[in-house]
């Protein structure tokens, strides 16, 4: 069963509309791209889209009540909601420094959640 997916390329301001025909994990055709970057983007975006998730977690005893966090590497797009749920349950103690690992394996992706900002003790 073939499936048609429409994408907007993010490679440059041109924003080409790309159409991908996919059958399961097989790409049957990619059309509408105008450069190699567009072709590669469409391929990744259809087969295994990933995103870096950035958010905040609660801090106990810090100057600010929350501190910014990010997944150290991009995670599968389908895991974003699970990732946010786990982030919501995390509370850390101040001080927090950029790069501190706050979770070793967020949403079972094998990717670390790290602090991306500093928060001093109050």
């Amino acid at each position: 069963m073939s499936e048609k997916i429409n994408l907007t390329c993010i490679g440059c301001p041109l924003g080409c509309s790309i159409e991908v025909i996919k059958n399961g994990d097989e790409i049957e055709s990619i059309t509408g791209y105008t450069c190699k970057r567009g072709h590669d983007y469409a391929q990744t975006e259809v087969l295994a889209p990933v995103r870096t998730v950035t958010s905040t977690v609660r801090v106990k005893g810090g100057v600010n009540p929350v501190v910014a966090v990010k997944t150290r590497d991009p995670i599968p797009k389908s895991k974003i909601a699970d990732c946010m749920k786990e982030i919501y349950d995390i509370t850390v103690d101040a001080p927090v420094a950029i790069g501190d690992v706050l979770c070793n394996n967020i949403a079972d992706t094998g990717v670390e959640l790290v602090a991306s900002a500093n928060d001093q003790e109050l």
Binding site: L7, T8, C9, I10, C12, P13, L14, G15, T34, R51, T52, V53, T54, S55, T56, R58, N64, P65, V66, A68, K70, K77, I80, M84, I98, S116, A117, N118
Partner: protein, 431 residues
Amino acid sequence: MNNYSERDLIIIGGGPAGLAAAISAYDTFKAAGIETPSILVLERDKVLGGILNQCIHNGFGLHTFKEELTGPEYAGRFIDRLKERNIEYLLETMVMDITKDREVTAMNRKQGMFTIKAKAIVLAMGCRERSRGALNIPGYRPAGIYSAGTAQRLVNIEGFMPGREVVILGSGDIGLIMARRMTLEGAKVKVVAELMPYSGGLKRNIVQCLNDFDIPLKLSHTVVDIKGKERVESVTIAQVDDKLKPIPGTEEEYTCDTLLLSCGLIPENELSNGAGIGMNPVTNGPKVNESMETDVPGIFACGNVLHVHDLVDYVSEEAGNAGAHAAMYCLNGDKAAAGDIINVTTANGVRYTVPTVIRPDMMGDALTIRFRVGNVYKNCYVDVFFDDERIIHRKRPVVAPGEMESVVIKKEMLEGKKIKELNIRLDLNEG
């Protein structure tokens, strides 16, 4: 150094522009053999880093560090460099006034009000968001209307959600980023309305902040009514015609408790105006020459106070240039005042340039001229004319108002020529 009466260089603002200017000025002083450069950064917030502290999304630093950083991480790297150099800074210090003679009046809780004399000043005050008042949106005035940046601060720094059901007016990058951020935190973003027929935001943000979460973007739409007495209860949007006037009959009412505004940024130039600095009416920032120096000798400008940028990497680069030239000014004075002057002008689709004046004697080996276009153009050429002679003719598959463009002028191109005017324009006829 605790006596705040004199410094060689004062930098107003400790955001990305101020930090980069301070670091590069320090290195310039050091290279000239100055043991302890006399530089002071004045910052009104409690921390250095400016707006980057609340921009927790990633995508910063691709040009500068060849990796994707979040805002606080990008700022952190520059703050570390500032601290390694022991550059002096004052926090929670508000600059009240600057004069043509480079006297800076500032105040804070410790020192009270004080005036410092400087040999040179770098303006790095950044910009602020266009407010509801400036937009003239009709309707009631309930709680629940925020600028996108205010909402960003509330969520990312203060740690609370300003609302649960959201309509966003304006598709600038902060608005798009906040659409995703509010969604991830459990809010429902119902629609993003954009007055223009194109988005002012980066393509990447449209895809990753709106499309990823199925948030509709309505181009050529604006807010025509806000309802609710205590708190926003609904927002009505309507389609606009090609003169940007709402079309009767196209109204759609969205129930919501929050309206976010992401409708453009305005350089914050009250201090510049007080010093009588000449402004560019297109950018709302000072007019500057190749050294990022305003028309008041010894006062330099960089970052979003000069013109609004879309990438912080370019802010850092431009600010580094301003800082180095400000340090040179402290060391050498204004040597080139009597030299040749080339005016940089625009035509055909190019809205403005920074700088607007080039003194060939003062420029380095290469000078980056940054500019913005007024509309989306496909398959055009960027042309640079030296008086009547076309020097650069560069094909661009697409240019857009939301993405800053640049051309590089090499010193050797200017050598042996008497040029009065350098004109940057688009050629739309070919291709």
